[in-house]
Symmetry: C2
């Protein structure tokens, strides 16, 4: 029997408590699988006196996570506090500087400081593992970094914010407005304290930035993620997309193009019959495409005590078993500073226009689209609503630049009543 | 730069050629990711003079795979010959005995000899890796052994024979008979030389035996897999299952019960709206359920040059990066010799009976079912065909033992014209 692997856990929210539970309840199984015991030596959280439903009396308590991170008797610092900066980052850096391995669920910290943390970890010969940061219980980091290591990845996609998918699914299935579905999700406690992290696509954007770095060997660059939330999606869009055989998802897409790395987190139409289109409620899905493997789809719970703790424990077990890997699967100094190249991959678009109901309105619009090089694949005009006529258009493939030019011209006409809605149709 | 990892590849069929292609074409990427070059030093196959579409002139040729496995300049023996015994097993044993790591795609060899090979590998401190043996390009071995290592697994399921799923999908979507769909698959080259390996469930059963060992910490025991192929499935069953909201899949299910390990590979009804129900064509899907992670679904190509070579390369890269793991995720001597406990988990069943069209026939059948403790959830009687009347029954949950007793009694009556069809409805 080799020496135990000793954990210090900072952050005792849902996930931290889940990790404590697994370590306590599955001690024998973990020891058999790792070849050594997994032990918790100390914990830290903002408030000590709180009933968390688990017995913490066997562990030392540290008020200061940095002190916890530096303890001589801690082998692995488990960071479950969250937040891109502040105590999480300070304690992670302290642990790495002290030569300790780190396991974290902190997507914001990695999206913003991935490169610097990877350099620090590797300079110290430490692991920094973060399976729980992306898509909850789905072992997608492992799949991408290890299982698909023989592939040149071509595209990575994901529905990685369960709250947004819940809202969109409720709009679709129960006919709720965005505001009603948002209120329902809020009532269920699904939303972050700052809801814009969810519905603005930021949380999912953090995850995409991490997957991009892994897939394409680039430095994490969250600022280059083109972000668009779901707040502008109406029940009309959902219904009309469904009529045409599509679903609307907040979809992250990363792909390397001739002009640089494209990272988008935005509402997209996907075929209703595709795995992404069929994904309902809070479940997450990641699609990984590589030159050899073609396409792998991974589906599972994106949040919650058990699933997220499962991901944390996967990393802990890797470390217990002696795995050593660069933080992003290749040495940090070899990661490329990829040029951001948003919206270079052409796509078909769904357009919804509210036209004034008068002769020649539609002709004016189609002429503008044609002049900008945006050709029309399908068009539907619905029954008049008072004095306006909703028109739906599915374009042939076009660049976002051409489309934006066309929509700017459309806005300047006297025949549209509202800002045109344009949603990308992603081929999946 | 550390020393190169030197491969000897035995077997130059589709997968072997795929591996050669990746090693040649992605040398730089692989070196960056592994931290060392990956090189092929020697290859072996049954016939030397054959155009395989790749240049093999840089590699030594060995007629004898055992000689290849023992070469001093080979670090990793890559076994892609296939077959549970014979040269594949001899060469694998020779490589392990010589202290070399082995990567194999050989499901039959592992299903039949997994325990002995694991003991040999671990006694020599060698890796024996087999990602490509199960579900092609899907990194399911890695997910189960590493990513979900913090979970006590509760159930593992999978559609893992693309040929069977292709046949069933064609019956469903094109209305073909089993014989027609089988002939089509044969014409497309989808069937093994012995088609019973596919349609008899043997190939998929091998894969299930491997997943079972990993999930439940048991010795591989292929003989304990309850096997039932798809040959008895008729277009009627497919159509009628669809009418009730189900699809028929050749589904592998392994779960640990109070009475032992249950391993089944058999046609099952699954809800049409579930990920398994939506799986069409040759694609594979594995569902992993654990106490913490709840449910993970992995979907991807189950065969083909690129996907299977991707899986082989995942293992090669793990070894290049220094990963060391017991063959089944825990030391071979700790794997339990689980009692085989087939058909202990109750389920609802779909029954199709061909009754003689005379008064009292149905009453007689329902009385027999009731006497055996099999209660009826739903029943449909279709229009008479000549002098017989097809009756469909969905039972409430029952044990296979009770059902078998009932069906034996049904067969002995004078009111059934054909052997009753009984297909399990798996809750997914």
């Amino acid at each position: 029997m080799t020496s135990p692997l000793r954990l210090g856990i900072a952050g005792l929210g849902t996930v931290g408590v889940g990790v404590v539970r697994i370590v306590r309840q599955q001690a024998k199984m973990l020891t058999t699988r790792a070849g050594r015991p997994i032990e918790i030596v100390a914990v830290s959280a903002r408030t000590r006196d709180k009933d968390r439903g688990v017995n913490l009396s066997h562990y030392d308590w540290e008020d200061d996570p940095v002190a916890l991170a530096k303890r001589d008797d801690v082998d692995v610092f488990v960071e479950l506090m969250g937040g891109s900066d502040g105590p999480a980052k300070a304690a992670t850096e302290a642990a790495l500087a002290a030569g300790k391995d780190v396991v974290t669920a902190n997507k914001a910290m990695l999206a913003h400081h991935g490169q610097a943390l990877a350099e620090l970890a590797e300079s110290k010969g430490c692991n920094l593992r973060y399976e729980a940061a992306v898509a909850g219980g789905i072992p997608v980091i492992k799949a991408l970094m290890e299982g698909l290591a023989g592939n040149e990845m071509t595209r990575v996609m994901g529905v990685m914010n369960g709250t947004c998918n819940y809202i969109l699914t409720r709009m679709q299935n129960a006919g709720l407005t965005y505001e009603e579905a948002f209120a329902e999700a809020d009532g269920l406690g699904y939303l972050e304290a700052d809801p814009n992290l969810d519905v603005g696509g930021i949380d999912a954007g953090h995850k995409l930035a991490i997957l991009s770095a892994l897939a394409f060997g680039t430095r994490t660059n969250f600022d280059a993620v083109e972000l668009e939330g779901i707040g502008a999606i109406t029940i009309d869009d959902i219904t009309q997309a469904a009529d045409m055989g599509y679903r609307i998802k907040l979809l992250g897409v990363a792909q390397m193009t001739g002009r640089g790395l494209e990272q988008r987190m935005s509402p997209c139409l996907v075929p209703a019959s595709s795995p992404l289109g069929q994904l309902e409620g809070g479940t997450n899905m990641v699609v990984l495409e590589g030159d050899a493997v073609e396409q792998i789809v991974l589906r599972g719970p994106g949040a919650g005590e058990g699933p997220t703790a499962s991901a944390v424990m996967g990393d802990v077990m890797d470390i217990a078993r002696g795995l050593r890997l660069p933080v992003f699967g290749q040495p940090a100094e070899t990661l490329a500073d990829a040029r951001a190249a948003n919206s270079t991959v052409p796509a078909a678009y769904y357009l919804r226009l509210q036209l004034i109901d008068k002769p020649g309105a539609l002709a004016k619009i189609t002429a503008i689209l044609g002049d900008a090089g945006v050709s029309i694949d399908r068009m539907r005009q619905y029954g008049h609503q008072d004095t306006s006529a909703p028109v739906l258009i599915v374009t042939h493939k076009t660049t976002r630049a051409d489309l934006s030019e066309a929509l700017a011209a459309v806005r300047e006409t006297d025949v549209v009543l509202a800002d045109p809605v344009a949603i990308r149709i992603e081929e999946v």
